[in-house]
């Protein structure tokens, strides 16, 4: 079976990359890339109580998820979701570990329920109302590839429209020294089984063992190397240029992922 999907919407947030529309000319190379701290707000679609409880990972995940759905004119309640991240709410993880190492181990209920790897997916469900299947993955530095592979098998085998949401955020010290992630980042792709008026490209995925593509722009390449979900950037760069062709993305050694891209417009 071929792993084929139509890409109907893209969401992107990263340092110096505010959203997909703003980032497209930067990735295409027509505007220079300039790094600056990322800003992202909690989505207004969350009820106030949940909005107060959202950390950076949740904000990034929900921002790119919403951007991809809006761009594809898609109803999130009709889409399955694949969330994939190397970590989760890493500030929350540090706070819990500090409390558990102290003399008073009482952690708050909110800290605990935000500690699960699937917290962003849970908040997405509450924000979007989607009762469709949502899975949440981790493959360390291969998390973007693992998410893309799961999403493509859902589209190809189940015939679902699937929203892939990949995101990462830095750890504070002392974990940062052990796992140095320099910035938060998020990429979402709305992947559909049929071509529509919104379709940007048709993609076909296969396992490969070629070396992953690098980016020519040094600042973007530094992000790709340092942040697991940013390893999807070569795919976004080809899409930003409106080109077709083949890109090779990082996955789990010795495997990489080859993506054949055919532009739809």
């Amino acid at each position: 079976m071929k792993l084929i999907a139509y890409l109907d919407g893209i969401g992107l947030v990263g340092p110096g990359l505010d959203n997909w529309l703003a980032a497209r000319p930067i990735l295409a190379g027509t505007i220079p890339y300039e790094s600056r701290p990322l800003t992202v707000a909690a989505p207004p679609s969350l009820p106030p109580a949940e909005r107060r409880r959202t950390g950076l990972a949740i904000k990034v995940a929900l921002a790119v998820a919403q951007e991809a759905c809006a761009a594809g004119q898609l109803d999130a309640r009709q889409l399955a979701a694949v969330f994939s991240s190397s970590g989760a709410d890493n500030d929350n993880c540090d706070a819990i570990c500090k409390t558990l190492a102290s003399n008073d181990r009482s952690i708050s209920p909110t800290r605990f329920h935000n500690s699960v790897h699937n917290a962003p997916a849970g908040y997405w469900g509450i924000a979007s109302g989607a009762m469709t299947p949502a899975t949440v993955l981790c493959a360390h530095d291969g998390s973007f590839g693992a998410g893309l592979l799961e999403a493509l098998t859902q589209v190809a085998v189940e015939g679902w429209g699937t929203l892939l949401v990949t995101y990462d955020m830095p750890y504070p010290e002392p974990l940062h020294a052990k796992r140095p992630l320099p910035a938060a980042f998020g990429i979402a792709l709305a992947l559909m089984p049929e071509r529509s008026a919104q379709s940007l490209a048709r993609i076909e995925l296969s396992l490969d063992d070629a070396a992953p593509d690098a980016l020519a722009e040094p600042g973007l390449e530094a992000l790709r190397r340092a942040i697991p979900c940013a390893r999807g950037l070569p795919l976004l760069q080809t899409l930003a240029r409106g080109e077709g062709g083949k890109v090779v993305l990082d996955y789990l050694a010795p495997l990489s992922l080859a993506v054949e891209i055919e532009a739809c417009r």
């Binding site: 079976m1 558990l100 849970g122 010290e173």
Partner: protein, 399 residues
Amino acid sequence: MLNSLWLSHFTAASCLGHGLAPTLAALLAQKSELVPCAFATVTDLATYIGEVAGVDEAPLPASLAEYECRNNRLAYLGLRQDGFNAAVGAAAARYGRRRVGVLLGTSTSGILQTEQAYRRRDPSTGALPDDFIYRTTHNTYSVADFVRSAFNLEGPAVVVSTACSSSAKVFASAARMIAAGVIDAAIVGGVDSLCLTTLYGFNSLELLSSEPCRPYDADRSGLSIGEAAAFILLERPAASLDADAVLLLGAGESSDAHHMSSPHPEGLGARMAMESALKAAGLQPADIDYINLHGTATPSNDAAEGRAVAALFGDTVPCSSTKGATGHTLGAAGGLEAVISALALQQGFLPGGVNTRRVDPGIPVQYLTANREVAPRRVLSNSFGFGGTNCSLILGRAQ
């Protein structure tokens, strides 16, 4: 509808014992192995736990030493049971090392390692100790990476971490990968281990029972946390199967879209997962002979799940939760309960729920409090997690 897949080999380690034989013996004897919590330095919580014996005494081999943590030790212990090691080796030889996937569930990963490392931070700099390795212990992917490395596999691998449905959802993902032809076989299941985060976390939510948990009891007062490793080798059915071979007939997934730590009060998401599993298997509710409930023994979980089961099955299908025996093994629960369901199918009995004295009269399902000597042909197993992630599996005998 996906084609059925064969659970060609499986094993589990929980507080009931190491491997299938002691697990089966404990189920047949309706034993609970929950004990008062004295795990690590946790002596201030009045709760019961299901601890796997001998994890601390089972270090990893030198070649895998960088993966040292309780979660991976428990995984390694599980892999060496019931000939599972050899079965994976044979599958890798038959299909190729790139054609065997590793899809495992965990919620804890090796977080205990980090919790302990935070106690050993450098007093002046706050730095974590040099011997702490993030990637191979703390990171949520660690256990799948460990298993992939232990077997020298080179195929797709991933951890699914959707809290307490994690190791049920891996069956659905693996089935899709096999259907798509990406792999020919998969190691699925899950590993979850005791740690301070879950013990103090569930305590903060006031969800820990001060006695061994009593699923579906009118006086249930919360859960007992357990730990487990469960591994299943999933592949396409052999040309001829023994009558007692166990097949994955269908899987169903849904989301509650309701609340981070409380289930949908009407069990709507739970019902959708069960309906979807039935549809995937091409079955009707009347085709199910036993339901292994999620049954955590928290007041809200059992009420919501019970409503969903009653709405779909009425009170005609015998059901029980085996968490009174094993505790709630969180990210390993789906895998462990799939193994228990497979044992029920092979051995021809319905496991009664232990610790439950008076079944909640407000939950109109046929809850078993004693084993029943009835041979089920098809079993449904429920796993529901924080964040409203639901998964139901249907397993059946080949004949």
